[in-house]
Amino acid sequence: MIEIHDVTKHFGKVHALAGASFVARDGHVTALLGPNGAGKTTLLRMLVGLLRRDGGTIAVDGVDPGKDPMTVRRSIGFLTDQFGLYEKLTTREYLRYFGQLNDMDDAALARRIDEVTELLALGDILERRAKGFSQGQRIKVALARTLLHRPRNLLLDEPSRGLDVMSARALRRALAALRADGCCVIMATHVMQEVTNSCDDVIVIAGGRTVAQGTPQSLCERTGIASLEDAFVKLVGTEEGIAV
């Protein structure tokens, strides 16, 4: 469960966040929608305790990332569109590296690597170095890394950017499994179809503020517009930040 209330942040004279508030519930996939520069990245980096907020409150399972970032980070899986693989490490070495950074002991780590390998069908690339991996293989390895330490909360920053159909399906399946498992998933995205297909809840932010939160249907009803895309445009007042 991730709760943020009236969070503000400015860089010099620029107000990146001007009072964002929302709740992302366990067992829900929550989409974070917003045009470029709306403050999505700032928000995600604040949730893992990288950036300090100027005001407001943030609680990740009741813990403030500003006060205890290490505890919060241990409960978070963080996936970005670049996946962050190391070319010269094998998949197993890559997973071990992040497992150790997440304070997992060797026995638990070995067990867990076996589990995610089976879950994501990584068997054939487990001992291979990441150099030359296809985009699909890359996201699978990155997903394995994200899930390795059994985080209760997942932050996905445009995870589907540049994915082919097969990889996108793999991602969608993983999301469904996490939701069924009772995890809290926040996904920043530009892809409306993804929101309609995978998300239970939508948060729209623009200009550093939350302009709407609700199910995709409720947003359409509220704006009186049938398609989510058009509803989004009406809510933020711009077409920027949409991909189909």
Partner: protein, 396 residues
């Protein structure tokens, strides 16, 4: 808890990546071998030049030698080997000089004997190739001709009742205090400093790749979101890069030591009186130089967005510690305590003093070790602060 400190986890991973980077390892190997070999080669050349007998005979081709037997005797006495030649054209002389078989060609004019006897200036032509490396020999021949001419003039004046001393209102006596040792001192001083420069190259690839490279590939964002303190990340990366450089520098110094011990340096007035124990001490004192080199490069790379940008910046910055190594020996300064506070210059000065075989004392070792360590820690502190700043975290 795994019981493993986080910085060790990062250290092991960065080192593993470096060991798999063939280009980085190739560069380390190149510098490990290249510097000692280069310095060894240059010194060897100086030694063989110094060992060449100072006064080997000068080959002089003379046209019309029979016209001036006294002059020929004079030349022979001054260690000039005379090769008698028949009449030659100008082209033939030029061609002969180009072969460098003779230092110069002396042509006596046909009327030499008559002119000499009737006390008119007797013409002698000295042909030489100033582009060839025989300037000193030509000078020697000229010297003989001049002194011969002066002796004859003196004798003639004497015959007319005039003292030959009137010919020399000023008497010049030359003293050359230069020895081959003092000439090569500044060159060798610079060379010793050059041994330490590779410390900056050994770690370059690791330092740049683990910071700017990771940022460029966007894996830094994920790494920073892990439950590890920035301190541990910086520490691990710093120590990994330093480790590569420490191994490289130690190996290189050992090879350099072996090369310098092998060469007969006394022949060029230089000495290398270091024992292997002394070398061990130098290596131990130099441990902090790689620490500084890596910290310095990481501090620079952290601001770069790409590997290439960081590499360029760092390569330029490496010039900084090289400058004093080249400039200070040129200034011919006496060894002073401040020299032990400047990285690389301090190592150079220390090694030079030790090479003389004198007792150096403890202070230079402490200053050399401490100055680099202090700068390294400052660079690391800067990097850590920078990586925790909002501005940096928003730009990764």
């Amino acid at each position: 808890m795994s019981g493993r400190a986080k910085f060790v986890v990062v250290f092991v991973k960065e080192l593993r990546e470096t060991l798999r980077d063939k280009r980085a390892l190739g560069m380390v190997l190149l510098f490990v071998l290249m510097y000692p070999m280069l310095v060894g080669g240059v010194l060897q050349q100086q030694i063989s030049r110094a060992l060449k007998p100072e006064k080997e005979g000068i080959e002089l081709t003379v046209i019309g030698a029979a016209r001036a037997p006294t002059l020929m005797t004079q030349l022979k006495q001054k260690n000039v080997n005379i090769v008698d030649a028949g009449p030659m054209t100008e082209e033939a002389i030029t061609a002969l000089l180009r072969t460098q078989k003779t230092a110069a060609v002396l042509r006596l004019s046909d009327t030499y004997g008559d002119d000499y006897r009737s006390m008119r200036p007797a013409r002698v032509e000295l042909w030489y190739d100033s582009a060839a490396d025989s300037g000193r020999k030509v000078g020697d021949v000229e010297q003989v001709l001049r002194s011969y001419s002066r002796t004859i003039a003196g004798a003639r004046l004497l015959a007319h009742g005039v003292s030959p001393a009137t010919l020399y209102p000023v008497q010049v006596q030359k003293y050359d205090t230069g020895t081959s040792a003092s000439r090569s001192a500044s060159v060798i001083g610079t060379m010793l400093g050059m041994f330490f420069i590779p410390a900056f190259f050994f770690c370059l690839s690791t330092a740049v790749d683990s910071t700017a490279g990771e940022r460029e590939r966007r894996s830094l964002e994920v790494l920073l979101a892990q439950p590890a303190h920035t301190r541990d990340l910086v520490l691990g990366k710093w120590l990994a890069a330093s480790c590569v450089s420490i191994v490289g520098l130690t190996l290189e110094l050992c090879i350099a030591h072996a090369v310098l011990k092998y060469l007969p340096l006394e022949e060029i007035g230089m000495s290398w009186r270091l024992s292997w124990l002394d070398l061990l001490l130098v290596c131990a004192t130099s441990l902090t130089l790689p620490l500084f080199a890596a910290a310095f490069e990481i501090a620079l790379s952290i601001n770069a967005r790409t590997f290439k940008e960081a590499q360029t910046t760092a390569s330029f910055a490496i010039m900084l510690p090289i400058v004093p190594v080249i400039v200070v020996p040129m200034l011919n300064l006496n060894t002073a305590a401040w020299m032990y506070l400047v990285p690389v210059l301090s190592h150079q000065t220390l090694l030079r003093e030790m090479a003389k075989g004198q007792a150096v004392g403890v202070l230079p070792f402490v200053l050399t070790f401490g100055a680099s360590l202090l700068l390294a820690l400052l660079c690391v502190a800067f990097t850590q602060r920078r990586m925790q700043s909002d501005r940096y975290l928003m730009s990764i």
